[in-house]
């Protein structure tokens, strides 16, 4: 499985969201920046970064930035990553972004995602400009490099991000086979 390289075009998808709608790249056509974040419910790394992802979406929503969470984990192996559990978690934490279910795992495989959380950030032309971690430490008080935030700021200024790729730190995606 190869990961989408920096500069590559976003790969089309159509996935159900927890709100009953179906989402695709076209859904976000009027957004200047699109961040796809492979995520899930159970992973302690996701839970450590969850509040920061919510903050980033709140902060940049008015600037045309859309973050979208995609859960591809096999719910047979992890029942807390089921569609119903996704709905509950999004409600509990007041997710300000769509939370999509990649049950066939085809989108995760197409992007070459391996971890949760793992960010793929696209500019307005939907070219990949940043891939990797949200920032450089799971403990918010120890963060020194705000990778995602800095990449968004750069894209909004039509500049390349200062850092375009970092290792995604988190749980492995739980594949069905």
């Amino acid at each position: 499985m190869s990961r989408l390289p920096i500069g590559a075009s976003a790969i089309p998808f159509e996935l159900p969201g927890i709100d009953g709608r179906h989402y695709s790249l076209e859904t976000f056509a009027d957004h200047q920046v699109l961040g796809l974040i492979f995520s899930c419910n159970h992973c302690p790394y996701v839970q450590a970064w969850e509040e920061r992802m919510i903050q980033v979406q709140h902060e940049y929503a008015e600037h045309g930035v859309a973050l979208v969470l995609i859960n591809a984990n096999d719910p047979q192996k992890y029942p807390v990553d089921s569609f119903e559990a996704m709905q509950q978690r999004a409600h509990m934490f007041k997710y300000p972004f769509p939370y999509l279910h990649d049950q066939p795992q085809t989108t995760a495989r197409a992007y070459g995602a391996e971890r949760t959380p793992e960010v793929f950030l696209f500019n307005q032309a939907r070219e990949l400009v940043y891939h990797g971690a949200v920032d450089d430490h799971r403990e918010p008080e120890h963060v020194q490099q705000h990778y995602l935030r800095n990449a968004i700021e750069a894209v909004l200024k039509h500049q390349p991000p200062p850092i375009s790729e970092t290792p995604a730190v988190g749980c492995t995606i739980k594949w069905s086979v």
């Binding site: 159970h42 302690p44 839970q47 450590a48 047979q76 992890y78 029942p79 807390v80 799971r138 730190v169």
Partner: protein, 111 residues
């Protein structure tokens, strides 16, 4: 008294080295004499056999260091997964805090 510690870890979960360093640092700072046995959990069969609830797991004299471990969310209670630790402020993290670890090890070393 020398504590017997088992440090169970899974390579796919990224914090095991940091967790081990934290454990060693707390033991040294508290002056707790301990022998640490490193146990790599390589597959699901290992996880079941070792009753592994997530990486990293610390056993003190054979007992889990956390009297109230957080459920992993996996279908099986024992699984290849990253372990969740609940902090005092309620947040979930992949490693315990230094203070929590110090408190638990101090309590267990004198019990």
């Amino acid at each position: 008294m020398t504590l017997s510690l088992d440090y169970l870890w899974w390579a796919e979960c990224p914090s095991h080295e940091e967790g081990l360093a934290l454990l060693r640092a707390v033991l040294a700072a508290e002056g707790i004499d301990a022998v640490i046995r490193l146990v790599e959990v390589r597959d699901e069969a290992d996880a079941q056999r070792l009753q592994f609830i997530g990486s990293p797991t610390i056993l003190v004299n054979g007992q889990d260091i956390d009297p109230h471990p957080v459920a992993s969310g996996a279908a099986s209670i024992y699984a290849l997964t990253c372990r969740a630790y609940r902090r005092d402020d309620g947040r979930i993290a992949p490693l315990p805090t230094r203070e929590w670890l110090r408190s638990r090890l101090s309590a267990l070393s004198t019990s």
